[in-house]
Symmetry: C5
Subunit: 359 residues, 5 copies
């Protein structure tokens, strides 16, 4: 369990404000840039090798132009794209800062900037992993930035574009942005399913009283994942709300009901997170009360043993004394009488503890 | 106890947005569609076999037309009804998504869409069960969708329509929607009564100190049910408020006071839920303190036994030693003196513990 | 301790909306209706036997007409009064529903409807008891409904009307309603005094360490009473605020400062409730830590006994062994030497535990 | 520790609304009334013996007239002053009701009414003591009411008026009211210092593990004091805000920045209260975990003793048996061998517990 | 651990309002005043020896004039600067009051006043240390006040001004203020990193079960530091928001996006603080459950020892009795039979505890 995900590089503090510095996990592969252009009748997908090929599309363009950038760790690449598309430097800083929370910013009806996180649950480390995604929505184009390249989350949308001239192909870049966000948010449900499975495993272990200290540590890890997830999803709500309220020409009225639907899904995600958090909290309580119960049971066992054998041992001790004058010792059946008395005593004790419900 | 009620089918994630996919429990029977038409003087109830019979009623119709659909798991049925009544695809998605939270949506004064949950408490599994209900209110018609067919919750309203030309018969589809919602919300009270009975049983068990770990698990299950119920009822408040504030021609002024009354009932339901949650929380605390008390009592028993018998056994041990020169052993009454001393010692101990309030 | 105060009769669920059904405690006596008419110079009090005598007073009436109805369980009586005074059916439903929370409703400047609860603390059952009160304020009349007849809470006001031509006699029905509400809210302080006395008794018991499991149960009962009281008083605040903001001709400006004063009193009540709740919460904590402390003390006693007597008994056991060759046994002073060693050992142990602060 | 500070005299409930009844501690000395008149050049201080001497100053008066009333328990005195200055009866009720929370009320630009509490910490009883203060601010005069006479909190201001023709002397009654409130709020910091000292003492006791049940009780008493203080200071914020926003001629613009400064101080007081409350809460937690730790240590001691001596005593018991045929007993070195084995066993045990970190 | 950081000098209470009194740590070195003047082409840095050299720059000045004051404990210095720059006395009071919370105040478009705290984490005392910083922003000048001189936090900005004619040199005093605040807030991340490291150390100690009471005390100290930090950073959010909304000529539009960026950073800081607080809270819970688990394990050990050796010792006691007639004693193999029985009994016990999972 590591909190280091919030590690701030010390080189950042003290540097000139507005300078492009990547803040995030170390990544060693090169950035990949793809351009997907399509309209209702046609489409084309290119891998861009030279960034100078990217350009702001002319306004009365018959194509939707989607630039998909995989990797935000190379300042030179991000800066170059920013120049080609005339983007604000602080926007580029947010693209490269993977700690940036989801938000929406409008730049004078020329373009919109939106960020959110793709989430996945790493079963091995039991940790929530997040990928920083940014979108720049212009009149005729969409630029998407992905933090990491592995397991491209946008592939289903590309497949749909290739497969048929469906809704995505018939609509503008605002619908495309919606479609990409929809994939991301649908994945939140998958992530929650993973967390739910883990929670269920822990719950079973606790109810079958097979839990130990490690179970608790895992439970707290899950709780923390859920809190983190809540913190990363909550502002998405705001962001979508902003898109809906923003009276921008960039988001067409036909896309609005779809965004409202997305907003509803985010509310559902938050709702599930809250219910999981509550489940986790009550599991902790149940576990702690199990500990108390177990202690009670241990103590009862000890007390029963002591209460039975202490008096018996004492009686045996009595008749082990070496006084000259101990008349009982010299009777014929003294020994058996004492054994009998001991039997009666121990049976009495057992009955007593039975009645008190200790056995 | 299962959290799986929030299970999200993986087929959903990645699918094209707006596609009609049923999300909910598996259901194997066929959808039943009934049409009830009535006015102040007359009524008719038909089982609809062919969906083409359903049609948007002409506006100056002398009848209120109520289409009751039992079952939302068949995409083809829901889609067909949507076509006949010209409903928005996203609305149909909400009808089929049983995870959808209660909400209200207005479609340009042509129709209103409202969803809420019917709730019941399953005594066997101690779980809250919810049924997804949706209403589409038009000028002259009402469509109601029920998730499940068993135990029709709307039967009392149908009975009232059949029985007499009362308020329901004299009013429009908005009053009918109110009447159906009223039945649903009245059932919330019944559900709360069941939960209250269970809570009372647990409370008695805890106060009579007959509680065990399982009692606690049940208590947490009830608490979770209450939290879930709160989450499902809370947005109903919003929804009704929306109906009241919405300046729609679909809801006539004469229905408003009834909706306000319904709103009051929902507030009462939320109030009872909160008080039950508090009861449950304090029961958990009482139970845990009972555990501590019991432990205290066990420990006292152990300590009393040890404190009495350890010194006695020690004395017996002394006179069990085999030293040659132990003068006491050879006196005539040594044995009886020691027995007497032991008796005095143990009585002293008992008095001491009495005074400390341990016995 | 019973939660059944929220019991909802099952006959209610499923019945036609707006039908008059009494929801509350079972009551077996008949409703009493009194009419008190007064102005600055004169007054008259009548027991009304035939409800047809009740009538809406003509507007330019020189009298204030107060109809005091004791008992809301007879639907026929309430309905009849409703007819005579032309009251809305849903208002009557609220009068008969003793679960209704405090609220204010205005019916088009013709009359106002206000409900609140009279509260008292039952020392025997340690429960908060509430009585449902409703007021209908018209231009020239006031109707008050009381749930129960025993111990009439309004008697002081009647006495003041009889006693002298004071403020009540000189003002209209709005001032009368204020005066009645003032009595109710002054009684909240008396109720809080009772709860405070009980809290103090429990506090003393806990601080003197004489508390047991039952003390805790009582404490939780008081906490629950306070929570219930909070829930019943909180909306009174809203209700009074509504009366102040409502631009109604029914409430004259001269009454406004008095209502504002009442509002202040309600705030004080809520403030005291909150401080009592906090006291109760900290008493629970103190009690639980007392349990831990007591356990500590028990365990220390046990440990001291064991640590002293176990080694001694062991030494005695050594010299109780029957080996042929045990030289110490045959020395002259071996026995006394061992006794001395035992004494030294036990004194050493005692000193050790003293130093550790256990004795 | 007594909660009785909220005791409501029962004579109040049921009495006619608006009647002047003192609610507060019993006080036996007579009310003292002083009048301080001053302007930039001159001043005069009189003890008023006959209340008829008090009068509303004529408007174009060259003096600021301050009437300082010590004691609010004599209804006749308060009522007489009310008549002389033409004050509203409900205002006088608030002056005499020491339970009244801080608030501001404006009476049509003729005068302002403000109340707040002077606070002090009684070291002997560890309780927060409050004194009810009220101010009536007119165009040319200020009336201040103090609940108690002992230790006059306003003396520093009087001294400044006497000492020099400073800011107070050069400004109007609004600045005087500010100056008096400033003294009161500065005293809040002194009170917090006292509480802080007590908190520090308790903290040291807890960290040095010298805490006992009484420490906890004191801690809860301090926590309660802080909560009470918060409740009494919080509305002062509102009151000052009201003075700032109130567009009244009574508060001159020159005084506004000073009031804003006072407002800042109140925020600081609330901030310190919150941080103290948190300190108190975490001290409780630390204390409780100390209890658990101590218990652990006691139990370990017991277990170590038992685990060492039980096996040894058992071995001694074996060779104390009286069987005829026990070959070991008759060997020459059997006794010494057994003693040796016992030594090895106990050393082994000690090493084992060392390794588990119990010793 | 000391709460004395909130110590209020008693000399303050009772003193005339508005008088300049330093409230803060004792400081013994003299105040240093530096003036840095620069524009895009040139710059000059002077150590000011005589305060009369400071003067309000004439408006059409071609230089940005930055007065950096290190030390706010000398009332004479602060007062003199106030006179030279015509600053309000209450502003100067806030400069010298190191307890002042972050805030923004505008003085009629002539100058803005802003305060915030520089924070650092003292590893030695595990305490958060704060330095009070104030800014006065005029049309052509900026005055910065620092509480302490050691380790000048503003040095990087001075270095940048010296190094090159970059953004800072090309912009006005509002950008300079932004640049200084940016350094302060970047340092918050460094401070959080220190706290995060400590938290991680404690976490590892707790998970490896090497924690003790002191670990808990440290954890609470960190929690308190985080709460304090939250309280000191939260109003910075407000302050920046104020700068953004304030329609002042002092803050130029070109600086606005940078301030918005700073605002985002403050949100991130608050976000990290919240997540750390949660980590700390769950670590406390894990630690406390570790205590319970350890106690359980100790008790099991004790119970196992007792349950095995008590019966064995009892049996040995039986055959140590001195009855004349004990037939078993005289059989040839009685001794060995008893030893065997004891062996069987203890193995049985061990198996029993194995099966219950205690060993």
């Amino acid at each position: 369990m590591s909190r280091r995900r919030y590690k701030v590089g010390e080189k950042k503090a003290g540097s000139s404000p507005g300078s492009l510095i990547y803040v995030g996990k170390e990544i060693d592969y090169k950035t990949r840039v793809r351009r997907i252009e399509y309209n209702a009748t046609d489409y084309a997908i290119d891998d861009i090798k030279r960034l100078s090929e990217c350009r702001l599309p002319a306004t009365p363009e018959p194509f939707v132009s989607w630039l998909d950038v995989d990797g935000v760790h190379e300042a030179s690449v991000v800066e170059r794209i920013g120049q080609q598309y005339q983007l604000h430097p602080l926007l580029l800083e947010d693209v490269m800062n993977t700690r940036q929370k989801p938000k929406l910013e409008q730049y004078d009806d020329v373009y919109l900037f939106a960020t959110l996180k793709a989430l996945s649950f790493n079963e091995a480390t039991q940790e929530l992993e997040s990928e920083h995604l940014s979108f720049v929505l212009g009149k005729q184009y969409l630029i998407s930035f992905q933090e990491e390249r592995k397991g491209d989350i946008f592939q289903p949308v590309i497949d749909r574009i290739i497969a048929s001239a469906g809704k995505t192909r018939r609509n503008g870049p605002d619908y495309l942005m919606y479609a990409l966000m929809d994939v991301v948010i649908d994945n939140y449900f998958v992530t929650l399913d993973c967390i739910g499975d883990n929670l269920e495993t822990l719950e079973n272990r606790i109810i079958e009283q097979a839990a130990n200290q490690e179970t608790l540590t895992q439970l707290y890890a899950l709780k923390r994942d859920l809190t983190l997830m809540r913190r990363l999803v909550w502002p998405v709500r705001e962001m979508l709300n902003g898109l809906l309220l923003e009276e921008s020409e960039l988001v067409k009225p036909v896309t609005a009901p779809f965004l409202r639907d997305l907003y509803d899904h985010v509310l559902q995600v938050l709702d599930i997170i809250d219910s999981y958090r509550e489940v986790a909290a009550s599991l902790v309580d149940v576990y702690l009360s199990t500990l108390s119960n177990r202690m009670n049971s241990v103590m009862k066992t000890l007390t029963i043993f002591s209460a039975i054998f202490m008096p018996l041992t004492f009686i045996a001790g009595i008749y082990g004394m070496n006084f000259d004058n101990m008349p009982e010792l010299h009777t014929r059946d003294g020994y058996f009488a004492v054994l009998g008395a001991m039997g009666v005593l121990s049976i009495g004790m057992i009955l007593y503890f039975r009645r008190r419900g200790w056995m």
